[in-house]
């Protein structure tokens, strides 16, 4: 019996099984090969996220894949250059190496995510936007300076929204509540000692 997993490097495939109706028809399109190659599930939904200013200064870097410091620096440098070279009217997606880059500029900060080739770019834009909303709610009308002077908070907020490159919490309220509690705990622990 054929394996039920989607074929990997498939250029041909059997007809869909429809029980005992003999062999049913396949349109010239579907049924068999030339079918769009299936997406193997990615190593991580998001590979990394970078925040940088218009002058190319890094404000946050979150890596969900293991890379050496040197490689991270190289990637950061090249990607920042590439994104900064984009004209304002261009679309938010670009192909870079074997990754898809989704970026969006909010005021003076670029938010840049790298996703795998088979991921959904549009939802990544939503992820970026949700993160910005969270920052905005937390800092009250967030600007780049907030993120510079409170970079640890920016990380903490991100870590309540995404985990291991995946979305962990879809409710804005819950994320902000968790941060509040952690902040409170932190203040209390400082007083105690």
């Amino acid at each position: 019996t054929p394996c039920n997993c989607p074929p990997r490097a498939a250029t041909t495939a059997s007809l869909p099984q429809h029980g005992d109706r003999g062999f049913p028809f396949a349109a010239a399109a579907a049924a068999a090969a030339g079918q769009a190659p299936p997406r193997p599930r990615p190593a991580a939904a998001m590979q990394f996220m970078l925040l940088f200013s218009r002058q190319g200064k890094l404000r946050l870097q979150k890596w969900y894949v293991p890379l050496s410091d040197k490689e991270k620096k190289k990637i950061t440098r090249e990607l920042v250059q590439t994104v900064l070279a984009r004209k304002p009217k261009m679309c938010s997606f670009l192909e870079w190496r074997d990754l898809k880059i989704v970026y969006k500029r909010y005021a003076s900060l670029y938010f840049c995510c790298a996703i795998e080739d088979q991921d959904n770019e549009l939802i990544t834009l939503e992820i970026i936007h949700r993160y910005v909303e969270l920052l905005d709610k937390y800092f009250g009308s967030v600007c780049e300076l907030d993120i510079i002077f409170n970079f640890e908070k920016a990380y903490f907020i991100l870590d309540e929204f995404l985990l291991g490159g995946e979305v962990q919490e879809t409710s804005k309220k819950n994320v902000l509540k968790a941060i509040e509690q952690a902040d409170l705990l932190s203040v209390l622990s400082n007083i105690k000692s």
Partner: protein, 781 residues
């Protein structure tokens, strides 16, 4: 000496106050020295602040490895502030390649089992970000316990940590598979979307790793579909939604998981109609639906739905949506060619995009959509694009146009015109073989010699800078100069050209600094050829030739000297040597085949000592004998289907291995002058493969339009249909439609083939379904 250490924010201010890079470096080095001293002294109170400063400095690009051990100490501290910064430091500074990172395993284990919830959260977060394979193996039991804890805050993090662990150590799947059922069960009771989201991700990851898990989780698919449906149709809670779309993240996750289990997304049409697409969130969900449909083996109707959704995306004002649509359509164009064709006008519109990445995609897609019925219209658009497109797309556009022209050119003259246009517009960007291709094309079209040379002359007279054009023009003028001067060509306005003008033009090319050495070679040779074509005396030509006898370019000099010798010593041979060239054989396997064919045909006529007419019918009789089908030879098949064995001995081709006995063609369908013919090829290198070329011809008085051929084979075989050459067959023997079927039959099962044809003919729509009988045994044995 105890100096009160800077607060983090003060340090940041100081660094930003630095006017130059050197100043910044100074400030940072000073501070790092303090931080190092503080670490050495082991001050526990301010350790977290020191590390935070170090992390800031690290982000600016300065070394911070001496803080690694401090991370460990902070994580081990009981103060929450310390742990928070310590874990952050671990994620930023510790590297799984160095064994030092393993030292936090124990602390994590303690925090996971004994810590309060926020602490557990920190530990899980760190583990899922930088946890190496060893760490994952060590800590799997702890994470497993947390999966089923009552607190959703911890549970959702534990689930995603499990996902990370499975990615790092696939064997851990067996640990995390059993709890999934319970997690799903919990959701139906408590409806916690964060848990559901995590669980879906976990299940997807498990299915990815093992087919056993896949089978196990097939059962939950109906449940997931139900959840999705509920999300879409019923109300939503505002905190989870984005601009009116209920929890798009969850919807997207749901679709991805269905991709894994390869089931038909029954809810897709519902999602498509119910989702508000005025904002990106809605479109994101819709896009995921499309991706799901594309990835699993969907029914035809759903695939068409997907293509139509993408077609709608193309009209969206948001550039990102258009980009995503173009990219996905490119993936679908091979398999769902006719559905994508419907959106061709919109795709062509996208060529005018200002964003280069969009216009590039539009170009690729447009080129893929060219077929014999739309080739003229498409070429017009593409050529207009070529004139205005950005330089980095020129080369691709030019070669795309030339390729498409080669495949689908309706007439030779159109083909020549197209290539000419490309050469004048983007001459410097065409591939090297364009010149050779064009010269051969012109050479082969005898009736167009006059036309070609005239057009090329005009183009050359205007502009001698585009090298490929100049080369072809020079060659042409050389070959057909007499036709140029004769001045009578019905196809374009008559233009009187006299000899002096032609010679002057070629000399100009020779002398121009823009001409490449190869181009000069062409021009010189052309001049030489003209010496036999023109009626006037050859003094001017002789002069030029002798001048170039002392040219610095060796190749040119050699030619010139040879030509000069031709004038002086071998004048009697000149005319013969410079005669019109015979058609150059196109090199490649095709040439050998044709040569073989012509040899076979020659031998046949020798073997049968009768004039050609009855000989043709003899051939037909042989065909009858063999396959019982009435000899349907519109175009003789490349491999002659007569007694192949006997012929081979006759021919005695020592260097070519005897080809396998060719399979006879089969006519499978005929109705009112419309015929369908199958020809079979079994490539010797792949015994399981059968290639069937389906040819549809039309000898009636009415055109056949919207022709679609569908096929089905038994389950044990695999069928692949390539895009047809078109879907129109003009009347009275017009250009037939061909389509290639690839059938893989590794088990040599008996071949059965069912065909379904739909087309319009004589203003009626025709549909025929039939099974092909008398399939030759050689096609599957």
């Amino acid at each position: 000496m105890v100096v009160p250490s800077l607060k983090l924010q003060d340090l940041i201010e100081e660094i930003r106050g630095a006017k130059t890079q050197a100043q910044e470096r100074e400030v940072i080095q000073k501070e790092c020295a303090h931080i190092r001293a503080s670490f050495r002294d082991g001050d526990p109170v301010h350790r977290h602040r020191q590390l935070a400063k170090l992390l800031y400095v690290h982000m600016l690009g300065y070394p911070a490895h001496f803080g690694q051990m401090e991370c460990l100490k902070l994580i081990a501290s009981s103060r929450f502030t310390d742990k928070r910064v310590g874990y952050l430091g671990a994620m930023l500074l510790l590297d799984e390649r160095h064994d030092a990172h393993l030292l936090i395993t124990n602390s994590i284990k303690n925090d996971l089992s004994q810590g309060i919830q926020p602490v557990q959260g920190l530990a899980l977060c760190t583990l899922s970000t930088m946890g190496s394979a060893e760490m994952c193996r060590d800590l799997a039991p702890e994470v497993e316990k947390l999966l089923l804890q009552p607190s959703p805050y911890v549970r959702k993090k534990a689930i995603l940590t499990a996902v990370h662990m499975i990615r790092k150590v696939p064997e851990l799947s067996s640990v995390f598979l059993p709890p999934c059922a319970q997690l799903l069960h919990e959701h139906t009771r408590n409806r916690l979307s964060c848990i559901l989201l995590g669980t879906i991700t976990l299940i997807t990851e498990l299915c990815e790793r093992s087919p056993a898990a896949l089978r196990h989780f097939r059962k939950v698919v109906p449940q997931l579909v139900h959840i999705l449906r509920t999300l879409v149709t019923m109300g939503y809670s505002t905190e989870h939604s984005i601009s009116g779309v209920s929890d798009p993240f969850l919807q997207v996750g749901g679709h991805s998981s269905k991709t894994m289990t390869n089931t038909s997304p029954l809810s897709s049409p519902q999602v498509a109609t119910n989702t508000d697409t005025s904002r990106n969130a809605g479109n994101a969900v819709l896009f995921e639906t499309v991706l799901t449909i594309m990835d699993i083996r969907s029914a035809a109707g759903l695939r068409v739905l997907a293509v139509n959704i993408l077609g709608r995306f193309l009209l969206n004002s948001d550039r990102n949506i258009r980009y995503v649509a173009l990219t996905s359509l490119l993936r679908l164009v091979q398999s769902d060619h006719s559905a994508v064709q419907r959106h061709r006008p919109t795709v062509v519109e996208c060529l005018r995009e200002t964003d280069a990445s969009l216009s590039r995609r539009a170009l690729e897609l447009s080129l893929a959509l060219v077929n014999s019925s739309n080739v003229r219209a498409m070429m017009q658009e593409l050529q207009a694009f070529l004139e205005s497109c950005p330089p980095d797309l020129r080369a691709d556009c030019a070669s795309g146009i030339l390729l498409a022209a080669e495949r689908f050119a309706p007439t030779k003259r159109w083909h020549i015109d197209t290539i000419l246009h490309v050469l004048t517009t983007a001459g410097t960007h065409v591939r090297d073989d364009a010149v050779a291709n064009l010269t051969q094309l012109i050479g082969g079209a005898q009736e167009l010699h006059a036309y070609s040379v005239r057009r090329l002359y005009n183009a050359l007279a205007e502009d001698i800078s585009q090298q490929p054009l100049v080369q072809v023009a020079a060659w042409c003028i050389g070959e057909y100069g007499d036709l140029l001067l004769a001045g009578n060509c019905e196809e374009i306005e008559p233009l009187q050209v006299d000899e002096e003008e032609v010679l002057a033009l070629l000399e100009k090319v020779l002398q121009s600094h823009m001409s490449l050495p190869a181009t000069r070679g062409y021009a010189l040779t052309a001049l030489m050829k003209l010496s036999t074509r023109l009626c006037g005396d050859n003094n001017r030509i002789r002069q030029v030739v002798s001048i170039y006898g002392s040219c610095l370019d060796v190749e040119l000099q050699q030619r010139a000297v040879e030509y000069d010798t031709l004038f002086r010593k071998y004048d009697h041979m000149r005319a013969a040597i410079l005669e019109k060239m015979p058609l150059v054989e196109r090199d490649g396997p095709q040439a050998d085949e044709e040569a073989k064919e012509s040899k076979e045909a020659a031998q046949l006529s020798e073997a049968a000592p009768v004039p050609t007419e009855p000989q043709a019918s003899q051939l037909l009789d042989l065909l009858d004998l063999l396959d019982g089908a009435s000899g349907d030879v519109q175009h003789p098949p490349p491999l002659d289907p007569s007694p192949g064995g006997a012929l081979i001995h006759l021919l005695d081709l020592p260097c070519v291995p005897p080809p396998p006995a060719p399979i006879p063609d089969l006519k499978v369908f005929e109705r009112e002058g419309v015929q369908l013919n199958l020809s079979f090829i079994r490539p010797p290198e792949n015994p399981a493969l059968l290639l069937i070329t389906v040819t549809a011809t039309n000898f009636s008085e009415g055109d056949v339009t919207h022709f679609i051929c569908q096929a089905a084979v038994p389950k044990s075989l695999q069928l692949q249909l390539q895009a047809p050459s078109g879907n129109t067959v003009p009347a009275r023997g017009g250009l037939p439609i061909t389509q290639l079927f690839r059938i893989l039959n590794p088990n040599k099962a008996p071949l059965r083939l069912k065909l379904r044809l739909t087309y319009d003919h004589f203003h009626q729509s025709v549909q025929e379904i039939f099974e092909v009988n008398n399939l030759p045994v050689e096609s599957w044995q």
